[in-house]
């Protein structure tokens, strides 16, 4: 089990290694996660792309974090959604759409 708390649905995951570094014995799910997370990809998106329920993805990603193969921006303790500067940037970004 991962040392992290529950990962938020929208928490982005980034691979710290390339898929070529994975052992041949790596599971297809782990391989796919490492491939998808070469660019930051959220837990929800991983779940959708893998066709695997969120709960399972959380466990897989947690294990990959512990193995230092991915990093996660852990959202739940951060209160970024109440940060004035970030909300200003969000507003600016949406206005620019």
């Amino acid at each position: 089990m991962s040392s992290l708390g529950p990962l938020a649905l929208h928490a982005p995951v980034l691979a710290l290694i390339g898929p070529e570094v994975l052992r041949r014995t790596a599971t297809p799910e782990d391989r796919r996660i490492i491939e998808l997370c070469q660019t930051p990809t959220s837990i929800a998106e991983l779940s959708a792309r893998l066709g695997t329920p969120v709960g399972v993805v959380r466990v897989l990603v947690g294990d990959l974090v512990d193995a230092r193969m991915v990093q996660v921006r852990e959202m739940e303790d951060r209160s970024e959604h109440r940060d004035v500067r970030l909300l200003e940037r969000l507003l600016e970004g949406i206005r620019g759409l």
């Binding site: 938020a8 929208h10 930051p40 959604h81 909300l87 759409l97």
Partner: protein, 190 residues
């Protein structure tokens, strides 16, 4: 350590079944809305089978969501709530860490959105009521919808054709403006 990871923000789109939530998400999302499945455990309230068998059953609910990249270091996710009120408890997870919510209303079934309004109000989460224009027509003025829902004066009630990108964008702007005002007030208070 997080330098390469974008800030990820989340907005929840709620409302009754088939009110146009996925349409709204798809209108502004840069990707086709994706569906993710969450496993939940439902305590069965059934009266049959009072045997030694567990009354807990696993259920899978589907949530649709979309993504908008707002620059190299910020991503916004829009999550639609599962369509039925009996999954209200699942919203805790959806709503945690959310900037706010959009409650989408179909004026033909206005009561369908009551649970969503109550939920956001109860948790004190910024939200906007968006009256979906089906086929570009509206039957009720936003003022009537506001009265029917009796939402506080600081909650915007707007018309929003879920298929119209500009409408959806304006609705998002209104929501984030409200969330920002609230954050500024909270910051000033401390």
């Amino acid at each position: 350590m997080d330098s390469e990871l974008p800030v990820s923000m989340k907005i929840v789109v709620a409302g009754g079944y088939a009110v146009g939530k996925t349409t709204l998400v798809g209108t502004i999302s840069e990707i086709e809305p994706l569906t993710t499945e969450a496993d939940i455990t439902v305590e069965s309230l059934g009266i049959d089978n009072p045997g030694p068998v567990s009354t807990k059953t696993g259920t899978t609910v589907a949530m649709d969501f979309g993504r908008i990249t707002l620059g190299p270091d910020m991503v916004l996710y829009l999550f639609g709530t599962p369509g039925q009120d009996r999954f209200l408890f699942l919203w805790d997870e959806l709503v945690r860490g959310a900037v706010g919510g959009i409650v989408l209303v179909d004026t033909r079934r206005i009561e369908d959105c009551f649970p969503a309004v109550d939920y956001f109000e109860h948790l004190g989460i910024p939200f906007v009521v968006a009256v979906n224009l089906f086929h570009g027509v509206y039957r009720h003025h936003p003022r009537e919808v506001r009265e029917a829902l009796s939402v506080p004066a600081n909650v915007p009630v707007v018309l929003c054709d879920a298929r119209n990108r500009l409408h959806v964008k304006e609705t998002l702007v209104l929501l984030v403006e409200g969330a920002l005002r609230r954050a500024q007030m909270a910051g000033a208070a401390t």
